[in-house]
Each structure stands twice: as structure tokens, then as C-alpha cells.
Homo-oligomer: 203 residues x 2
């Protein structure tokens, strides 16, 4: 069984616990002969694989009554991985979702670290600086790098912590956010764990 | 006595409690004969007024030991207006500063409402929507407009409220933020009040 996460630019495979990543344009779906269970946000790739009967869209197995119709498929999958907790997927956006005894309680979407930093830079040359990840978020800032870092991260981290549930971090900036929380599981395979659980549920 | 706030695109005058606003390019400093006390972030305008002896830069009167050298002059002025409280200036950025018994305790800088909304739209067409200012920030969201509104505003508003001091809101989005806080003074003239207090202190 092969799990596959298809983004706009990359194809991420999970085969027997091993991940491998390809550029969408370089990847030929015909090379995979086993059953492939996938989630995709890439409509043109969906068209390409529609001719392969061994490729199965996990979208069809989701209990949509549990989530909402415009919710990102990646968010749903990381939620499926967790029975009880707050799931933070820190990528180009930071999604925060709450699972309570297997039931989805809603969530919210913050800007990603890179996009926030870029936006400060666009606002003013005076704010065009890197976040200071050594900053103490509990303190009010008295210089510009700290002021933008505290401004973006302190409210978000405190909000996440106040949700008061076990915390799961995934996505490219998971390790950066981990520095600022008291206790969290960092799991870069969370999406594939969710896909696997969804498959097992259905069978 | 005339007070004047010079931005990159506009000149904001405060004369006997009345405000009037001009485009920088349309404004001729020679038209004002009384003493003008100004703050400016506009270096080319500074050059134009340097020849007029009745124009006085308030930057020279600031006690810089109290603030920090790269802190925006507008932020310093709204702080000067308040002895005790949290001052939120909600414009293209949202600055949050803490004054404690006349002493500056630091602050932070968040993105402005419009810039945040624009950045969500840039991240994904799925997030290109307006904030929903009717949302209940205490609830996790189950649709996309609520998810980005809660994601941006709930952490920020909760952080501001937890600072636990009297709250002053100023800037173009002050009224929007006011909806979400339990108690606040909205004062669009805060910067001029700060300038006036600074002047009175010096004399």
C-alpha cells in the first residue's frame, strides 16, 4: 500500500514508513503498480491519474459531516490522525485545529512564518528584518526584530497553549514553533498517519 | 500653536482641536505662519521645511532613553499621550505598547487588518476572502472566512486584553477592533494629545 500527498508543486510518497518527494512535473503515475491512496489539491494532476485504476482518492472516504466542505484536505488528514488534541500544521499558512474525543471542534488559520515576515517587509523598510527566534515571547519588545517576532508569535503561541489539549506540530516550521511551547509532539508524518487511519476505518 | 503629523503621503494638521488633512504634494509649508510642532517620517518633506524657522521637530524633545532608537515616531507620540495603559494604533501595521505609570514597558507590532487579509489572499485563492467582523472570536471556526478572521484576530485581541491595563485604540481600524474588546477608549487624536503633552512637559 502506497500513500501519496499531491500538492501544487510536489508529490510526496509514503511507502512502508519511507518518504520520498518528487516534483509534480517529473513524476509519472504509471511507475507505481501497487494500490496508491492519495489526497490532492492539484486538479491537473487529478486529471492525469484518473486513467489509473490503482490510484484511489481518499476524499471519497471522508465523513464530510464531521468537517466543512471548503476545509483543506491536508488539514482533514492531520485531524484524522489525532483523537484528542490540538493539531498545528505550520507551512505557508499555519492551520490550528481541535479534536475532542475523535470529533472535530473547529479551528483557525494564521499566516505562515515566512509570509508574515514578508508582509512586515512590504509594510515598511523599517520592518524588513528576520524574526528573532531567540526572543522571550513573554516580554514586551524594545527593538524592532523582537517587536515583530513577539507581535506575530506571542499571541498565536499563547492562543494555542490556552486551547489546553495535547499539542501536535507538523509542517515545515514545526521545529521552530516547538521552541516556544512547553510540550508538543513534532510529527512530520502526521498527514500519512491520518490517511492510514482513515483507510483502516473504512475497511 | 499648530500640531502636524507628516506621513509619507499625507500631512495631518491639528489646529485648535480641528484636524485637516492634505496630500504631501499639495501642501505648501509657507502657508502656515504660526509656530508648527511636527513629527515626520518623510525625509524629503523634512528637507522642504528645514528652511522655515517656525517649524519645530518634536523628535528633538523626546527622552530617547525612555524608548528605543528605531521606534516609530508616531508610536512614541501615542505613548506620550497615556500615563497608564495599553495603546493600540491600528493602521497599516497594528502597534501595541504598554505604559506603566508614565514609563514605557515595551510593545509589539502586528500586521494591519488589510495587510493580513491581502496576505491570506496571496497564499491561496481558497483564502482570498474578506474577514468576517461578525464572528465570535471565542469559538473555533468551521468555515473559511471565520477561520482566517479568528486566526488573525483572536490571538491578538486576547493578548491585548491579557495585558490587563486600560485600553486606548487609535488609527484607521480602531472602531473595528473596538467591537472585539470589552472596554476601550477610542481616540483618533491620541497622537496630537501626545505631542501636546510632550510640548507642555518641555516648557
Amino acid at each position: 500500500m502506497i500513500l501519496c500527498d499531491i500538492g501544487n508543486t510536489s508529490v510526496d510518497l509514503f511507502i512502508e514508513g519511507q518518504r520520498s518527494k518528487f516534483r509534480v512535473d517529473d513524476f509519472d503515475p504509471a511507475t507505481l503498480r501497487d494500490d496508491v491512496y492519495y489526497v490532492s489539491v492539484n486538479a491537473s494532476f487529478d486529471d492525469r491519474i484518473s486513467q489509473y485504476p490503482n490510484w484511489h482518492d481518499l476524499r471519497e472516504r471522508i465523513d464530510w459531516g464531521k468537517y466543512y466542505s471548503t476545509m483543506g484536505i491536508d488539514r482533514i488528514m492531520v485531524c484524522e490522525a489525532v483523537e484528542e488534541g490540538v493539531i498545528v500544521d505550520a507551512g505557508s499558512a499555519i492551520t490550528v485545529d481541535v479534536m475532542d474525543n475523535g470529533s472535530y471542534k473547529g479551528g483557525f488559520i494564521s499566516l505562515g512564518l515566512q509570509s508574515a515576515q514578508n508582509t512586515y517587509a512590504r509594510l515598511s523598510p523599517a520592518l524588513a528584518m528576520s524574526f528573532n527566534f531567540e526572543v522571550d515571547l513573554a516580554k514586551m519588545a524594545k527593538n524592532t526584530p523582537d517587536a515583530i517576532t513577539v507581535g506575530f508569535l506571542a499571541p498565536l503561541i499563547e492562543k494555542i497553549e490556552r486551547l489546553g489539549k495535547p499539542l501536535y506540530l507538523t509542517g515545515g516550521d514545526a521545529r521552530t514553533l516547538e521552541r516556544f511551547v512547553s510540550d508538543a509532539v513534532v510529527d512530520h508524518d502526521l498527514i500519512f498517519k491520518g490517511m492510514k487511519k482513515l483507510l483502516e476505518k473504512g475497511s
